[in-house]
Amino acid sequence: MNKVIKAVRGMDKQMGVILFLLVVITIVMALDNPYFLTVHNFTVMAEGFLFEGIMALAMTLVIVSGGIDISVGGVFPLSAILMALMVRSGYNYYLAMLIVLLVAAMIGFINNELRRILKIHPMIVTMAMLLTLRGLNLAITDGRVISRLPLGFIEMANKRLMGLSWPMLAYIVLAMVWFVLSKKQRSFLHVYFVGGNPASAALSGIRTENVYRMVYMLSSMLAAVAGILATMVYNSASSNFGQGIEMRVITAVAIGGASLTRGGIGSIEGTILGSLFLAMIYNAFIMSGVSAYYQDVFTGLMLVIAVVLRTQVFRKE
C-alpha cells in the first residue's frame, strides 16, 4: 500500500488528476448502471478505443518531438482497405500485413521529407497528406465497402489468445514495448532532446533529421497496425473508417499530459491513461444514455481542467 501511495505521489500531476477523474466516473457510473462495472463492459470499453490507443502511442513521440501527425486519419483507413483488398485477392495474410506496413512507412517517410524539404509546419504537411489519402481511399474503393473476405482470414481474425482479441493483444504488447523503449531506448530518448531543444540536440551530435524521420514513420506504421486490426475486427474495410480519428488520438495524448505547444513534454504512461480516460468517457455516455451531443463538450471541459491543473494550479509545487 505504501508503495502504491508513493507511486501515485511520484506521478505526473496531470496523470494524478486524470486517475482521480477515472475513479470518480467509475463510481458515479457504477451507481447509475448495474452493467457498467462488469468485465464484459470493460472489455467492450477498452476495445472501443484500441485503434486510437495504438495510434496514440506513436503520436506521443511525434508530439514530444515538437511535431504533429494528422495524416494518421488517412493512413488508418488506407491500411484497412489495402489489407482487405490483398486478402480478398488471395495474398498470404502475413505478406499482406508486411506490404501494408511498408506502404505506411513510406507515407511517414514522405511526410517527413516534405516537412524537411519544404520547411513547412508538420500540421500543414500531414493535413495535406490526410486529404490526399482520404481522396485516394475513395478512389481505390470507389466508395464501396470491401467485404466478403475469405473465411480463412475471418477465422484467423476471430481467434483469441488467452481470451484476448488480436487488437487487445496488440495493444498490450505495443503499449508495453513503447513504454519500455520510451524509458530506455537511446533513439526514443533522443526524441525528448530533439523536442526539448532542437538546436542543442543538433549541437550534441544527435542527427535530428533521423529522429524526426523515425517518429513520423513509426506514427504511420502504428496507424497501419490499427488499420490492419480494423480489417480483422470488422471483416471489411471502407473509406469511411476513422472519421475524425486523428483528433481523438491527439486528444488522448494531450489529456495524457503531452504539450502540443512545446516539444519535449509527454509520456507513454500518460498517453495510456489518457486513452483509458477517453475510452471510459465514450462508454459512460452510451451506458448512461445521456445524449452524445454533450460528449465533446464534456471531453473538452475535462481536457481544459486537466491542463489548467497541470499548468496553473500545480505549477509552483
Binding site: Q185, R186, Y192, F193, G264, I265
Partner: protein
Amino acid sequence: MREAVGIDKVSKSFFGNKVLHDVSLSIKYGEIHSICGENGAGKSTLMKIIGGIYNSDGGTITVNGEEASLRTPQEAYLRGIGIVHQELSLADNMPVWHNIFVNREITGPLGFIKRRDMQQRASEILEKLDMRVDPRAKVSTLPFATKQMIEIGKLLSMDVDVLILDEPTSALSERESQALFDLLLSLKKQGKAIIFISHKLDEVRQISDRVTVLRDGRLVGTLTREEATTDRIVSMMVGRDIDEFYPPKAKRRDGKIMLKCSGLSRKDKFEDISFDVREGEILGLYGLVGSGRTEVALSLVGADKIDSGTVELDGMSFRARSPRQAVKSGLCYLSEDRKQLGLFLEMTLEENFVSSSLERVTGQFGVIQEKQVKSISEQLMEQLGVVPKRSEALAASLSGGNQQKVLLGKWLSANPRVLIVDEPSRGVDIGAKSNIHFLLRELADRGMAILMISSDLPEILGLSDRVMVMHEGRLKGILENTDLTQEGIMNVAYGEVGTP
C-alpha cells in the same frame, strides 16, 4: 608549453560578406586565452569554426600539431575541442545525467541505455566540479549558473582538452562568475587549453594569460597578461583611444519626483521596497539575478501583482493593472531579455518602433497611417544610430546592440515620463554600450526619470546619479553616487545592515 590549436590564415564569408580575414592564432595548453572584440568582430565565428559548427573558407587549423578537418561538432569533439555556447545546449526537459551523456549514452544491446552507470558517472563528474547537484534533477529546475557548470561538466566528460567559453558570464552574478573562474583556473592547472570570450574586460584581465583582440574580422594583436590593460584592449578593439566611457552626471537634481514607491511587497519576491526617482535623474538599481529587481519592475508596470505598498506617479496615486495601462500613463519598462519580452524579431524595425504606441499612428477606423509610421521610425533611427538604416529590415537580422537600440526606440516612441530599463547593455559590445549610455543620459537631461536595473557594476557606477541596492528581495540601501566604489556597493549588498 605545447600548442593545442594552431589557426593559420583562416577566412570566412557569409553571403559574400567577409567576416574573417586571414586570422592566425596559437592556443597553448595550460593557458587561458581570451578573445576580445566588438560585436561583429568575428570572435564567435572564429570559435564556431574551431568547434566544427561553421566551416572555414580558407586557411588551416592544426590540433596537437596535426592538420585537422573540423567539419562537424563531432569531429571537433573527437579532436578534444568543445564549446560552451552562449545559448546553452542543454535540454531543459531532461535530467542532468542524460544531458551530460546525450548522444554518448552507455548502452547495452538494442540501444538500451544503462541509466545507473551514467548516473553514477555523472555524479562523479559533478563532484569533481565541486557541484552539489542531484544528477537525476531536471535541468529546468536548476539556476542558470548551475546549468552552465553542467555544460562544462558535459564537455569534460568527453575528455575535452580545449575548452571554448563564449560569453559564459553574461547571465551570471558576480559570485557565480567567481566560482566559474575558480573552476577555469583549476582546469588550466590540469593543463587544459581554455579560450574565453567576454565583453567584461575586468574579467578578461582577471583570468587571462593572454588576450587576443579582433576587429572587423582581422587580428589586431595578442597581449600578454602584463600588457593587457583595459585601455590598451579597448583602444585595440575600437581602433582609437576612448577617454570617456560614460556620460557626465545629471545637470540638475532638483526635478519633480516622478515615481515614488513606499513599502512595496510581493510575496516570495520582494519586501518593503521604498524609493523615488526624479525628473532628469538616473537611479541605478543594482542587484543580482534573483534579488527581486526585475520583479519590482514587473510589478510596477502591472505585469505582476503588488501585495501591499503604494505607488505615486507624478504625484498621483498609481497602480497599473496591465503594462498597456502603464504605457498609457507614461511608465515604460524596457525588458532584460530582448528576445523574449520586448522585440518582435520576425517583424520589421518600423513595426517594432510603433508597436507600443499604436494609438499615435492609428487614424480613423483603426487604420495604421503608413506615412506617420515612416516618419516616426526614421526620426528614431537617426536619434539612436541604428545600423542598418532601413526601417523595413527585420529585427532578427540586427546585431544585439542594434536590437537593444530598437527596443529603446520602441518605448521612446511612446513618450514615457518614467523609463525603467533592465540590463540595457547586456550582451552588447563596447561601442554600442557607450552609445546606449549616452542616449540614456540624454533622455534624462530632457526630463525623463530613469530607473536603470543592472548587475554590471561599472555601468551602475558610471551612469547612475544614485544607486539603490537590492539583495534577496530586500532593499539594502540607496547611495548617492559620489566616490562610490564597486567594493562599497558589494558591501552594502552582502552586508547585514543597509544604510537607508
